[in-house]
Symmetry: C2
Subunit: 313 residues, 2 copies
């Protein structure tokens, strides 16, 4: 599947950090960075851009903040073709805490928001554009949004300057048909904008949903090494790159970092396909109840979890 417009974004550290509060060693983050550079990946999302007032450094690692000093300790001046991205959550970042792009090694800010925050997201995203960044709006949890609200949100976004908009399957609850429907809807509502896809693997469909989206002309593809990410994780980067067969990407450096850095983490961090994540995905629920269950002593009692979830309904 060769199309020169396709860009692959690695969000291993950002989305994977949701599983360990971004308490990665510098060695780990540097290894992911080097692998992305060597493999020819287009973007690496290295964490969240948050204000110090929103989280405590005692609880979360540096990749929840993406301070320049921390970034540069890993990437220097990032004198490579790899672009660096950070995600900004509405309400957790004061725009004044985002430096001008010329003073940062970050190239891109992706603004994540829920449907009721679209207007705030547009303001923040346009502010980041004025500061000189590439910018996207990542509208989360869209599987829970009713179509009228979604149409209204997309209409607002269509009028703003932000050039990239992501379809985000936060709950891993979408089938190919849902992706198809949304990509076509977004395309119609957002003429001239680039679309992206961010999939989760609760029903082992993250890879195929990413293929469906790219076949429909989504050009920004999120993936993570060995699928590392919240809960069931994301579209595995190594499968995506093997599929794309694009000469600009190299698989071997990705296998190398998986072998030496990612897979060893799996001994302590239990991301990936597990039945509780399947259950929340199939029920179109936020994975938080499954994450809580998986962290408890009852983690292998799927039947009890299923019964509890049905009582919620």
């Amino acid at each position: 599947m060769y199309r020169k417009e396709i860009k692959v974004l690695d969000c291993t550290v950002r989305d994977g950090g949701l599983m360990n509060k971004w308490l990665f060693s510098d060695d780990f983050v540097r290894a992911v960075y080097q692998a992305c550079v060597t493999a020819g990946i287009d973007y690496m999302e290295i964490g969240y851009k948050s204000s110090e007032s929103a989280f405590s450094r005692d609880e979360v690692g540096p990749w929840k903040f993406c301070d320049e000093a921390d970034l540069r300790r890993i990437v220097g001046d990032n004198d490579t073709p790899l672009k660096l991205s950070a995600m900004a959550d509405i309400g957790r970042i004061d725009p004044d805490d985002i430096p001008d792009a010329r003073d940062s090694v970050l190239d891109m800010i992706r603004v994540a928001c829920y449907i009721h925050q679209v207007d705030k997201a547009i303001v923040l995203a346009e502010t980041c554009m004025e500061k000189g960044y590439e910018v996207s709006i990542n509208l989360m949890a869209v599987s829970k949004v009713n179509e009228m609200e979604l149409d209204e949100g997309l209409q607002d976004i269509s009028k703003c300057k932000v050039p990239i908009v992501y379809i985000v399957d936060s709950f891993g609850s979408m089938y190919s048909q849902n992706i198809l429907h949304l990509v076509q809807k977004y395309q119609k509502a957002l003429p001239g904008k680039t679309l992206g896809i961010h999939a989760h693997n609760n029903m082992q469909l993250a890879m195929s949903n990413t293929i469906t989206a790219l076949t429909e002309n989504c050009n920004m593809l999120d993936a993570t090494l060995l699928g590392m990410g919240r809960g069931a994780g994301n579209c595995p980067m190594e499968i995506l790159i093997a599929f794309l067969k694009n000469p600009k990407y190299r698989l071997l450096p990705l296998l190398d970092v998986i072998q030496n850095h990612i897979q060893p983490l799996q001994e302590n961090i239990d991301w990936g396909y597990h039945i509780p994540y399947l259950i929340t995905g199939a029920l179109n629920e936020h994975p938080r109840s499954a994450l809580k269950w998986m962290a408890s002593e009852k983690k292998d009692d799927f039947v009890a979890f299923m019964k509890e979830m049905h009582d919620y309904e």
Copy 2:
């Protein structure tokens, strides 16, 4: 996805047995059987039907033979709506060792063959039909077959009496587009026959390929509990049943048997997504080299495996 013609076949014991030489405890096989009955699954493939001369009982468990005495020890007279199936490999079963259907608890024989064995498969399959069984032909490793040979094989099958033909992605190397192409080809070449799909999960596409096939009117769907099967395993039954939302199926008994019998096996049997299986799948190779690698001390050295595989090419 409700369509009354859809039948789901559990092949946990048959395909999973490829990972442990069918050395399952009776308790295990009985638990899978009971779960299939309670969950309303249509067929359970309990093993291979092989002749005693083809394999040694010292090396493989009873589900490599599916003798009546072994079967009845688990299922009695199987006085349930669940139909029982066994797979027959060309050259490993003497037709005389297959009793008449009226003397067996088996309801179905699925004849597995490679493209060069199609004519033998037709003879064996028609013999089984005469003995009173439901019968299918499962044409394996079709991703390696050139189209002219495949067209010829399908033409032969179209003329025979066997009513069910499976598309088998033995190497887990097919993308949705490949499945679509083959289902449409088989449909055109085999008018009036029912089609089935048997997928492997090397590229985490077994579930989505099964959806693609069923959307294109494949009505026999293979799946296994927690995806247990050779190498990367199969389409996970629990995800498929959650997708189908067909009132005749129940998810809870499947979660129960996974919790109490299947997941505990994973401590000793390492099926599922692993990088060596991704590599053979992406290269459209038989998984045997990956299986060998995974059984060796080098199992986590993906880079070495990738380099070795490329030297093969």
